[in-house]
Amino acid sequence: MLVYFLKRLAMVVPVLFGLTVIVFLIMAMIPGDAATAILGAYATPENVARINQQLGLDRSLPEQYFIWLGNLLQGDLGRSYSLNRPVLDEVLERFNATLVLAGAALLLCTVFGLLAGIVSAVRQFGWTDRIVTFFVLIGISMPSFWLGLILILVFAVNLRWLPPSGMFAIYGGGGPLDLLAHLILPAVTLAVVATGVIARLTRAAMLEVLRQDYIRTARAKGLTERRVIYRHAFKAALVSVIPVIGIQAGFVLGGAVYIETVFQWPGIGRMLVQAISTRDLLLVQGGVLVVAASYVLFNLLADVAQHLLDPRLKS
């Protein structure tokens, strides 16, 4: 297992390397002069020269890349001009907030997605199945940013049960309970689509597995139906659902951009939107890189989990 894990970890390196190339290339593809793009059309020539030099734009592209990569490896992602602080500091700080939100959402969608999928497969064509299928359809068709607004209207404005925005209360907040209260609405909103997708696939996987010969064997052994479904069928279905959960991590991390904007969550998604409108490209670059890298790691986790469950993959 450890060997596998190390091997898999080694395979992550080229992917991360590729990520840096793509991020670098996207930023290098900025049409026109990057300096003017950053500083605007009315920049003074001195400033343009300074930026060009600062960005190393007077060198060849591969050279620029390796200098940039070298800096990156030393933790230097440049300086955000709009915030006037190192990009890395800002990005990491924001990423923490996103991780809390995305982690909560992933937890929710995994638990409820699996549950809903199992229940709906077990009660196939029954009322529970129909209700679950209906909600899944609604969930995956709904614009999450709109759902967020409606939840704010209902639970924050009308019922006043939960705070409408932010991560902590401005006055006297800060405890874990305060965080939880602020977390519920955005995490639920962020989880809805992924829950739907996971529920759908779990249902399909369960139905597929329940027709397998080894399920008949389990029944022929005289096991209770509960054991047949939750031990034998679920474990087999889980193996095929786990990679999907890994992919959902990407949708959750991406969807955080909307949800953080709606709920004014101080995470990296909201930072990205702000950075794009102020054209703080170094900040965008850093943010994209960190989120993409974390997605790669989420997938690594999913992969390892799958290997832990499925002995067939070891050989």
Binding site: L19, W146, V157, I276, A292
Partner: protein, 645 residues
């Protein structure tokens, strides 16, 4: 569709219903279709509707509620008519979503076609690139692209298109890859056509359906995502508005005028949902597995709906007494009579061989005994299965559970698919033990290891930790046998336990089973298509054909002088050492379909002795001396058989 509606629609009656009819038959997708047509239709005719201009501001009328006169849906913060803006915005959103889909489809398909067609290194490099793109969280990549190109509706369109290219590239590549190796492509190459022409004229037309399906599954997403970018202020810029930017602007007045944001959101929702419903419908129609009902979940025990229940017979002392058992499969209005009235007795300590070709109903018979036939589509339609004076077809699920793996144990055909791939074999045996004996996991595991030694598995203690895929076929079958022995079953039911194995292993397993049966004194119901195997292990045989027993008797007698022409043929199929030519791989012709059984003898079409009388009325299983019976009006006798040959 019922017969009545079919008759009312003469078009639908002939042949298969059309694609559209199937689609509409699915109520949800029909709803999606109607909704989509409605929205798209409204969006199309918007310029000709008598609506106020969507961009005319009127500060005096700002934030009017819906249903106020002149403004069906009220006004926004600049006093613009929301209904008009909604329709115009929908136009923009649909146009942008569709365009993004088309752009993604063109570029993605091109990449997929080229990669799949070229194969080799080109394919490898292109697909690595695509994988790289997919390593980014979907929306993030779109954001990065917008960051570079700058906010704007067109740039948002490009961004969304780019992030969807991988989906198309992957799907199309897969199909192209298999097409590129087909004969017609080779033929085109030989005829001197250029690669581009081959791609466009030979490959593309075959790939087109996949492209269309991928488009139908992604267009909803693309509408949603472009709306999302506009919502963030990165897409449509004022005064231009799509649904997303309307929602974004409405958000600013969320607290005092929620309708300004609720309305455009609802429209996005309706639009995307209608597309998804329709897409699901299309997929269901195209997925043939759903039609056959094969994706249905089988219940814990076979449904019992008996139309005929024979009298409870007097106690016979048999371990198992099966009377007139009938099992059917109901699929798409057709009734397949897999088991059409089977009766037999399995005596204590004896081995009964149930012989027949595949599809003769022998496995279904065995599965029916303890309700292991999947419902749907299976159903027990008649008969009794009597064990210790009780009819098992009347047993509750809990009673069945106690018998399964308890008094009755099964050994199935292919242990690779019948053992759970994710649990160690020791664990699976332990579980079987603990289902019927109050032992701790540890004690049961010890017993499992003993059982493994009993079935002659070397290094049993170690092997118990193996998973099925790590063992050979013969080993796996020994595991299944060990599992069947776990609770000292009174009755063992072995369903083709040696079929998947090669000949030497087959012999070992047979010997093992015979020895164990002897040692444990259990009764054995042995199911096989191979008379050679039967002759080695069983005391009596019952030959099945098209769901019924056609001959039964002591193994030696039947083997020596078969009375039914079918039995004769089956025996002829057994390979004899040193005479490979004697192996007739199959009997000429096919057994009748069990949903359309002919009148009279089911074997008539393949029988060399058939005559007119064979095709009339039901042919009974006639006694033929002690312990022997045959379902044939002209049973073979030694003399007649000579004549036939």
């Amino acid at each position: 569709m019922s017969a009545a509606t079919n008759a009312a629609k003469p078009v639908a009656r002939r042949g298969r219903p059309s694609f559209l009819q199937l689609l509409v038959a699915n109520r949800l997708s029909a709803f999606g279709l109607v909704l989509l047509v409605l929205i798209a239709g409204l969006a199309l005719i918007t310029p000709w509707l008598p609506l106020p201009s969507p961009d005319v501001t009127n500060p005096a009328d700002r934030l009017m509620r819906p249903m106020t006169d002149g403004h069906l849906l009220g006004t926004d913060q600049l006093g613009r008519d929301l209904f008009s803006r909604l329709l115009w915005g929908t136009r923009v959103s649909i146009a942008v979503g569709l365009s993004a889909t088309i752009v993604a489809a063109i570029f993605g398909s091109a990449i997929g076609l080229i990669a799949g067609y070229a194969g080799g290194r080109t394919d490898n490099i292109m697909m690595r690139g695509i994988d790289m793109l997919m390593a980014f969280p979907y929306i993030l990549l779109a954001l990065a692209i917008v960051a570079v190109l700058g906010p704007g509706l067109l740039n948002a369109l490009y961004a969304i298109a780019v992030v969807n290219i991988p989906f198309f590239a992957r799907n199309i590549r897969g199909v192209t890859l298999s097409l590129a190796r087909r004969e017609f492509v080779d033929a085109a190459k030989l005829s001197g056509k250029g690669h581009i022409r081959i791609l466009l004229s030979e490959v593309l037309p075959n790939v087109l359906p996949v492209i269309v399906i991928t488009m139908s599954t992604t267009v909803g997403w693309m509408i949603l995502e472009t709306a999302g970018l506009s919502f963030l202020g990165l897409g449509a810029q004022p005064p231009q508005a799509d649904l997303g930017s309307m929602l974004g602007e409405g958000r600013k007045v969320l607290f005092n005028a929620p309708h300004v944001s609720i309305v455009p959101g609802l429209m996005i929702f309706a639009l995307v949902m209608s597309i998804n419903l329709l897409g699901d419908g299309i997929r269901d129609v195209l997925d043939p597995r759903l039609k056959s009902g094969a994706l249905s979940r089988p219940s814990a025990a076979t449904a019992v709906r008996r139309e005929s229940v024979p009298e409870m017979p007097r106690e016979t002392g048999a371990a198992l007494d099966v009377r007139d058992l009938k099992t059917q499969f109901h699929v798409g209005g057709e009734v397949y009579k897999a088991v059409g009235g089977v009766s037999f007795q399995l005596n204590k300590h004896e081995c009964l061989g149930l012989v027949g070709e595949s599809g003769s109903g022998k496995s279904v018979t065995a599965m029916s005994l303890l309700g292991l036939v999947p419902t749907p589509p299976g159903r027990i339609a008649g008969g009794r299965v009597i064990h210790e004076g009780k009819d098992l077809l009347e047993a509750s699920e809990a009673e069945l559970r106690r018998l399964r793996g308890g008094a009755f144990a099964y050994v199935f055909q292919d242990p690779l698919s019948t053992l759970h791939p994710l649990f160690s074999v020791g664990d699976q045996i332990t579980e079987a033990i603990r289902a019927h004996q109050p032992l701790s996991y540890r004690e049961a595991w010890k017993k499992a290891v003993e059982l493994l030694s009993l079935v002659r598995i070397p290094n049993a203690a170690e092997r118990a930790h193996s998973y099925p895929h790590q063992l050979s076929g013969g080993m796996r079958q020994r595991i299944s046998i060990a599992m069947a022995l776990a609770n000292d079953a009174e009755i063992l039911i072995a369903d083709e336990p040696t079929t998947a194995l090669d000949v030497t292993v087959q012999a070992q397993i047979l010997k093992l089973m015979a020895a164990l049966q002897d040692e444990k004194g259990s009764a054995l119901l042995f199911i096989t298509h191979d008379f050679g195997v039967v002759s080695e292990i069983s005391d009596r045989v019952a030959v099945m054909y098209a769901g019924r027993i056609v001959e039964t008797g002591p193994t030696d007698e039947v083997l020596f002088s078969p009375a039914h022409p079918y039995t004769r043929k089956l025996i002829d199929c057994v390979p004899v050492l040193g005479e490979p030519e004697r192996r007739l791989d199959a009997i000429a012709g096919l057994p009748p379909a069990v949903n359309r059984l002919p009148e009279g003898c089911a074997f008539a079409d393949r029988c060399p002795h058939v005559e007119a009388a064979c095709r009339k009325g039901d042919i009974a299983l006639d006694d033929l001396g002690p312990g022997r019976a045959v379902r044939c009006i002209k049973p073979l006798t030694a003399g007649r058989e000579e004549a036939a040959q």
